[in-house]
Symmetry: C2
Subunit: 291 residues, 2 copies
C-alpha cells in the first residue's frame, strides 16, 4: 500500500497548531485539515483564519476524525499531548501516524514507546519545532512561524512501526522542510538536557527578572519606560503563559534546576567582582557567545 | 548677551557621540560640529559619516575647539567623561555649557558640583539618553537612535551657573526634543538607583547567561542555534563592551550588587518551586510587567 498524506487532524489549534495548518496550506498542501481544541474560541479562530478546513464538534467527533486521518498532529502543553496519546493509541490503525510539537521530549517519547509499538498500533514520531512567541493562541498564528527554525525529531530505537507509518513519517519530514523549518534528529533525553540550557533557562530568567521588576517598580510606566529596548527585550518572555511552562517545568525539573543553580552561582560571582579584573573575564566569555 | 548654540564639540565620537552629531544635523542644526576621539578610527568614521564637520588633530586641538564652542558634549565611559570634566573646567568661560551622556550620574553630577560651580566657571548639565546598542562605535551610529527614548537630565541644586549657561542648557533641551528624545528631570542618586534595576540588572543577567552558555555549549552552532529567537534575544546584550560596563559597575556597584542578590534569590525560589503551585504566582507576577 502506497503511503499517502492527504488528511490531517490538528489537535490543539493554538499558536503552534494553527501556525502548522496555515504553513501547510501556504506551502501547497492540498489535502483536508480538520481541527480540534477544547477551547471553542481557539478552534473558531483557527477555522476563521483558514488554518483548518473543518472544526470538530466535540471530543467524540475529533476521535472519529482521527480514525479517518493519515496524520494526527498533537499540539499544546505536554500533559495534554500525553493524554491524547493515551486516548488515540487503542483507536488507530498501523497505517496511521501520530506526531507532536511538545516542548519536552523524554516523557512523550517514553510514552510513545509504550503505546505506539507493535504491528497493530499506529506509528508515532515525536517532534519539537523551535519556534514560538510569548503570546499564545490561534490569533497570533503565522504561516511563516517555522521558517529557518530547527524542527527536532526524537524517534526512539524501540519503535517497531509499520512500513506505512514509516512512510508517512518520511512524508511529514518533507512537509516540515517545505514549510521552511530545518528537520533534525536527536535523542529525546539529550533534547531535554540541551533545551534546559538553550530554552528553559532563558525563559525562567526572563520570568524571574520580570517578576522582580514588577515587585520593585510595579506599574509605574514613567519608571519602567526608562529601561528602553534592552529592558523590553530581556523581559518580553515574562509574558509567556504558565499553562505551557507548568508542564515543561514539571517534565524537565531536574535539568532546569541544575541550569538555574549554575546561573545563580554565576550571578553571585559577577556580584562579588563588580570592581575586580575578573569582571572583564566574564564579559569576554559572554562576548564570545554567538547563538 | 543672547544665548546661542552655534558651535558644538563632541568629545568621544563612538556610538552615542556620533549618533548625536547625525541626529542634530538631520534635525536641522546648521551650526558647526567638531569632533574628537582618542581612537583615530572612530574619529575618522564619524567624520566620513558626516556626524562631525571637522576632526580635531589631537587633545590640544580638541581643547582649543572646546574653548571656541558654545556646547561641549562628553560621550564615552564614565571615567573618561570625569577626566574630561577635570581638563575642561579651568579652561572654559561662564557663557559655555558642558553636557554629557554618561551612563551613571551620581559621580558625574557630584564632580560637576565641585568643578562647574561659581561665576567664573562654565555651566554643566548632566544627561543620560536611554538609547544604545550592544554594538559600539561610530559605524553603528544612527540619526534615529534617540527617537522616543527618555533623555534624563540630573541637574544638581548646588549649581550656580551663569544666565548664559542656563540659556544654552534650555537650547540643548530643545534640541534633544527635536532629535526625537523625551527630556526628563531626575535626581542623580535616584537615577542610579532606578537604573540599577531597569538597565544594569538586565545587562548583568544577559552577561551571566551568555557566559554560562558559552562555558556549557561553546561554539557548537548546531546546539546553540536550537534556542531560536528567545535565546538570541536573551543573550544579545552579552555582546556589550566591557570598556563601557566596567565604569558603570564601578560607579554604581552597591545598587547593582543589591539588584543581583535579589534576582539570585528569586531564581532560587523558582528553582525550589518547579513542581509547586508557587510557580504559577511567579508567572502571573511576570505576566503583569509591561515595560
Amino acid at each position: 500500500m502506497e503511503a499517502r498524506l492527504e488528511r490531517v487532524l490538528i489537535v490543539g489549534t493554538g499558536l503552534l497548531g494553527a501556525s502548522a495548518g496555515l504553513a501547510l496550506r501556504a506551502a501547497g498542501f492540498s489535502g483536508r485539515i480538520d481541527g480540534w481544541d477544547k477551547d471553542a474560541g481557539q478552534l473558531q479562530s483557527a477555522l476563521e483564519r483558514g488554518a483548518v478546513h473543518k472544526a470538530a464538534s466535540g471530543t467524540e467527533d475529533a476521535l472519529r476524525s482521527a480514525c479517518a486521518s493519515d496524520l494526527i498532529l498533537l499540539s499544546g502543553p505536554v500533559y495534554a499531548i500525553l493524554d491524547w496519546m493515551q486516548m488515540l493509541a487503542p483507536l488507530l490503525q498501523p497505517h496511521q501516524l501520530v506526531t507532536d510539537v511538545g516542548s519536552t521530549k523524554a516523557q512523550i517519547t517514553a510514552s510513545a514507546e509504550r503505546l505506539f509499538t507493535g504491528s497493530d498500533r499506529a506509528g508515532f514520531l515525536p517532534g519539537h519545532p523551535m519556534a514560538g512567541k510569548e503570546i499564545s493562541g490561534a490569533e497570533a498564528a503565522e504561516a511563516t512561524l517555522f521558517r529557518d527554525a530547527a524542527w527536532i525529531f526524537t524517534p526512539a530505537g524501540a519503535f517497531s512501526q509499520s512500513t506505512a507509518a514509516h512512510s508517512i513519517a518520511d512524508l511529514w519530514r518533507e512537509w516540515v522542510a517545505r514549510i521552511g523549518a530545518v528537520p533534525m534528529e536527536m535523542n529525546a533525553v539529550e533534547h531535554d538536557a540541551l533545551l534546559a540550557w538553550t530554552s528553559h533557562l532563558p525563559q525562567f530568567v526572563a520570568t524571574a527578572l520580570a517578576a522582580e521588576l514588577q515587585m520593585r517598580l510595579g506599574d509605574d510606566a514613567s519608571r519602567t519606560r526608562i529601561g528602553g529596548r534592552a529592558l523590553r527585550e530581556m523581559t518580553r518572555l515574562g509574558a509567556s503563559p504558565f499553562s505551557m511552562w507548568r508542564d515543561i517545568a514539571s517534565t524537565n525539573a531536574d535539568a532546569i534546576a541544575a541550569a538555574l543553580l549554575a546561573l545563580e552561582q554565576r550571578l553571585a560571582h559577577l556580584r562579588e567582582n563588580l570592581r575586580t579584573p575578573e569582571l572583564r573575564e566574564e564579559f569576554e566569555r559572554a562576548n564570545r557567545f554567538h547563538p
